[in-house]
Symmetry: C2
Subunit: 386 residues, 2 copies
């Protein structure tokens, strides 16, 4: 019988353009913050989520590097990758390690140092999440892929340019209350619509930024958490993981993200909850259109109705189900390998009641949805105060 797994510590590094800190510096900063928060004095094993330190900084073998620089070289440590879902995947692996009983105290970190290269190189590195042979060599980049999804959604469901903008406005409003956010400024619909065109219809304020950052959490069995944790342990009650074609052109429908629907279904089943029981959600808003389609796939709104959710206030703090109270990838920033872990950090802070001005009242159950590429992989976690 698998052991129940709790999160007992969370930590973040600074997020932004951190030119004076290296890849290892920011990872260790987040890891030490999580260790301090958990109040543990040792960790038994580690998982590192990272998309492409090879291309961003010429460094693979991250699991050993980070164990070494954290001062715990010799423990089992593994790096996992699923493009921008690398962080969520690392959380899954840490869950498995504890549930199986291979380790008691597991550190799960995510990290990406993206500003050691220029914009062209960063764009190339990010594009390796798409199909290199059949998409990237033809000239497509990620804004282009999501722009096609946005255009298809607008054509099929009548989603408007303004509705896309409302997602960014909401997430920046949330981010303005998050001290870690890379772009905490509030913005307006007009700001978004008049910002620089990237890939029609997406403008620069529809896109998440390039970010250096790291996030970490500490996992242990619920039984142990109840003994050692001074803060309320947060239990992982649901987990889902699914893939889809890596290439967008292989999908039946550009307006769907089947891997998200499948992963969410598995997580709901494991957690024995449905969307009505969930108090808040962190989703993968790498572009504004992504949040719109994702909340449809999670069942927050009906298919085709994602466009009006941010506009109506339903997904805003104080609304029916707040989405991306952290500011999301859009405002908080998107260090790709760290994002999935940082989403869990936000949910844990909310469920503990530590979210300050952006606190969701009476939050008891939260969910994260972390996505790789144009939806080729998705990991979903559901958490509850233990």
């Amino acid at each position: 019988m698998a052991r129940d797994v709790a999160i007992i510590g969370v930590g973040l590094s600074k997020w932004g353009e951190l030119w004076e800190q290296s890849l290892r510096d920011i990872y260790v900063e987040a890891a030490l913050a999580a260790i301090k928060d958990a109040g543990v004095d040792k960790i038994d094993s580690m998982y590192v989520g990272n998309m492409s330190a090879g291309l961003f900084t010429g460094q693979e073998h991250l699991a050993s590097l980070m164990a070494d620089y954290l001062g715990v070289a010799s423990i089992p440590s593994a790096r996992v990758e699923s493009a921008c879902a690398s962080g969520g995947l690392a959380v899954k692996m840490g869950y498995m390690e504890v549930a199986l009983g291979m380790s008691d105290v597991v550190l799960v970190g995510g990290v990406e140092k993206m500003t050691d290269v220029g914009t062209d190189e960063a764009t190339f590195a990010l594009a390796t999440a798409a199909d290199q042979d059949y998409e990237v060599y033809q000239g497509i980049t990620f804004p282009g892929l999501y722009a096609m999804m946005a255009r298809a959604h607008m054509e099929k469901y009548g989603t408007t340019r303004e509705q896309l903008a409302h997602v960014a406005v909401k997430n920046h409003e949330h981010g303005s209350m998050n001290p870690v956010a890379q772009y905490p400024q509030k913005i307006t619909v007009e700001n978004v619509i008049n910002s620089v065109m990237i890939a029609d219809p997406l403008r620069i304020l529809d896109c998440s930024p390039i970010t250096d950052g790291a996030a970490a959490i500490i996992l242990c069995p619920v039984e142990l958490a109840k003994k050692i944790s001074k803060k309320p342990p947060v239990k992982i009650i649901g987990l889902g993981h699914a893939t889809d074609s890596i290439a967008l052109h292989s999908r039946k429908d550009l307006t769907s993200l089947p891997a998200t629907a499948k992963a969410a279904k598995a997580a709901y089943k494991m957690a024995k909850v449905n969307i009505d029981k969930i108090d808040l959600v962190e989703v993968h808003d790498c572009f504004t259109i992504a949040e719109i389609i994702v909340i449809e796939e999670l069942g927050i709104v009906k298919k085709g109705k994602g466009g009006s959710a941010a506009e109506s206030g339903m997904t805003r703090l104080g609304g029916k189900i707040p989405v991306n109270t952290s500011g999301g990838l859009k405002s908080k920033g998107h260090p790709v390998g760290a994002t999935g872990v940082a989403q869990v950090v936000e949910i844990v802070k909310q469920l503990r009641g530590e979210a300050g001005p952006r606190q969701v009242k009476n939050a008891r159950i939260g969910m994260t949805q972390n996505m790789g590429g144009s939806g080729g992989s998705t990991v979903v976690h559901i958490m509850e105060v233990a």
Copy 2:
């Protein structure tokens, strides 16, 4: 209680300089061979071991790419990386997934396509397994790191230039009996000693080659294996995983590989066996000196006595404990992310009695040791006919 885990299918792609096949082609070739060997008609999830497709072919997000091209897009699929130990790490993850009961039939594959770039770029990609900031930027490459280990071992223990050569001679002799081997030609001690100098004292015939290749295995619970497998299932009875400083200069002793010793100790404990019970071993002979130090750390010979093992015939086919009957990385080839999985393929073939002219008589228990970088990570597995 964790479920017992068996290997019921194994497969390899062609190995060599495969200029007419892509990364995805060779992965799918190995995966289909393993699926056919296992006789299963579906897989529930997948792990992909790969070191650096980002740098070798501009492709990350491999787990989704490979699930897609194998025709199983939608299943949970994860890529794991620990430099040249990525394959062994993938086997560990597959073991955990089955042991925990998250999936019944799991495909574990390893792949590396190394010849799509030139030698300089390949050397850079491989060097990302070392410490980029403190080793690689100073000009070191992997032959240089292992050359320092070799020189230290020669100074401390009197290991000779000829003894290094005997490792290569033995492994090429074994490889000459392996149809998949990239360099199956037999060589002599004189050939090695007179070959081109790479990093003193290591010459080119002390070094494993650049290889394109993939390997795959199918895992399932032992209970299920006994029902569905036509061939003898091979049970994973021991597993160990450890790390060490990523940089060689951080080690106390250049002639030791503590992560290998620690991983082996954990695997022996879990399997409840000692080295005397083990009939054959596949070790990570990326350079001849590596095999010498590794067999010391595994307890096959005493510390400092690794040099004479190949020379004396002890580790040759027919000797006390055959090491690298497949030909090892040296003769069979070393597609870095595939190697750890391919080592398991060899042990399974031996334990099933399918190894042809290189068959170890009455082999019942076998072990693999897969290593990342200059020893910064190691994964050990022990297997027995179920």
